[in-house]
């Protein structure tokens, strides 16, 4: 196998899934992930309004 760093595409969906299936420990991460996205979403809405 190649010695390059990150020679394998981990896949974005596959990475997100790992946060979701982690049980209780994952809940906080997932909550934060989607909360941040939600805030981003609001900001975009705000920008759009202006």
């Amino acid at each position: 196998m190649s010695g390059l760093v990150a020679y394998l595409d981990p896949g974005s969906g596959s990475m997100i899934l790992q946060a979701i299936v982690g049980g209780v420990a994952a809940a906080a991460v997932v909550g934060k992930l989607y909360w941040r996205r939600f805030l981003g979403f609001l900001r975009i809405r705000k920008n759009d309004d202006r």
């Binding site: 196998m1 394998l8 790992q18 982690g22």
Partner: protein, 413 residues
């Protein structure tokens, strides 16, 4: 893990290695015979998966991670899986998920689920694509009821959906900012280990499982065959033995006692699985059971067809057993006898070969299905002449039933 040592004095190395700028040079022990996941049984892929997950968990304890999860990184010493890719370990970067998870799904977990839940052999899928089964494909293979089976909802359905939705996003940064940590990798690896441990495949009664008891020839034939194989093997110790059409491994075991290493091949994954489990439970270290068909052997695959090699390119045997094989290749696969013998002669090895005559019940059954006049070249005289043209026949012995003949043949030189 494969035994590995650091070469202290690089000047003793071949010039091209010693001159290149490398941080360190490692030397590995050699794997006796290279094999690929599409030649393994369910139990072998499952044990290889457990080895990878155990190594991942151990690596996490040391602040390391496996950067991939290719089952091609696992080889075998007999029935013991050996992880061969030392370069797969890298330092764990805080906040990053396991990069190998997707590969673990496509090349290891999905093939196992396919066989355990649907009863579909995974070998043709892995041989069909070196990338394995993609999440979206696997989702389509799962029926409504399969969604409720262990591991499917998350590792297949949700995985496929997220992959679809996040195709153009960089999740790495988002996850790090959200506080992803190594404990989540650990939790996921533990769950995967539990899932894989719980997977079962019941081989059932496949074509030849139980062939050993139900075969039409009697115990006298089997005893004579054992004696023949034992004496042939005892005449000269071999380095690498191939048993083609090994069935339950009864004769492999006898011949392997006089060989450094033996590769036992059969087209029926059910009998190979039974052999693997038996050998593994005994802790046997010199017989490697593989699924393979002489009439449809592993091809060269990948880049230039050279990443994965055909069987014969991975180590030539110096001794070959072909028991209860010739009639299947000649009559079921319609390979002319001379073609089969030409191929075997190309291996340039000592040979023990069994020829079931046209009077043999099994041969009759195969011929009856085809109608009168089928395979006219399938005659004892034709076979013997062709064998004699390519080998020096050392011993010829009809079995007590009178419908099978054993030959021990040596290369003419």
């Amino acid at each position: 893990m494969i035994a590995t040592e650091r070469v202290a004095d690089p000047s003793a190395l071949p010039a091209e290695l010693a001159e290149s700028r490398v941080a360190a040079v490692l030397r590995h022990e050699r794997v006796p015979f290279v094999s690929y996941p599409y030649e393994w049984t369910f139990g072998m892929l499952r044990d290889a998966a457990l080895l990878e997950l155990d190594l991942l968990l151990d690596a996490l304890d040391e602040g390391l991670v496996l950067k991939d999860a290719s089952p091609y990184n696992v080889q075998w010493r007999g029935t013991r899986p050996v992880f061969v890719d030392v370069g797969s370990f890298e330092r764990l970067r805080e906040g990053e998920p396991w990069a190998g998870y997707r590969q673990f799904c496509t090349l290891v977990l999905y093939p196992l689920l396919l066989q355990a839940y649907k009863g579909v052999p995974f070998q043709p899928w892995l041989r069909g694509s070196l990338e394995g089964i993609q999440p979206a494909e696997m989702r389509r293979l799962m029926g409504f009821r399969d969604r409720f089976r262990r591991g499917v909802l998350t590792n297949v359905i949700l995985h496929a959906r997220l992959e679809d939705r996040y195709a153009d996003r960089d999740a790495r940064r988002e996850l790090r900012q959200a506080g992803f940590h190594a404990e989540l990798i650990r939790a996921n690896a533990r769950k995967l280990r539990k899932l894989v441990r719980g997977l079962r495949w019941d081989a059932g009664r496949t074509a030849w499982s139980g062939y050993g008891e139900a075969n039409p020839y009697d115990e006298a034939d089997a005893a004579a065959k054992e004696e023949f194989v034992r004496s042939a093997a005892g005449a000269r110790r071999s380095r690498l033995l191939w048993d083609l059409g090994c069935n339950d491994g009864r004769y492999t075991r006898i011949a392997a006692a006089e060989a450094d290493y033996a590769v036992a091949v059969d087209a029926d994954a059910g009998v190979v699985e039974a052999l693997y489990r038996a050998l593994r439970d005994e802790g046997a270290g010199t017989i490697l059971p593989l699924v393979g068909d002489v009439a449809d052997p592993s091809p060269g695959l990948g880049w230039r067809g050279e990443e994965r090699r055909p069987l014969a390119d991975r180590g030539r045997p110096d001794s070959v057993l072909c028991l209860a094989l010739v009639h299947h290749v000649a009559l079921s696969a319609n390979v002319p006898l001379r073609e089969l013998l030409d191929w075997l002669a190309g291996l340039d090895t000592a040979l023990v070969i069994e020829f079931p005559t046209r009077d043999d019940p099994m041969v009759k059954r195969l011929l009856d299905r085809k109608g009168p006049g089928a395979n006219p070249d399938y005659e004892t005289e034709t076979f013997e002449r062709a064998l004699g043209e390519r080998w020096r026949i050392e011993r010829r012995e009809p079995l007590p039933s009178g419908t099978r003949i054993l030959y021990r043949a040596l290369p003419p030189s």
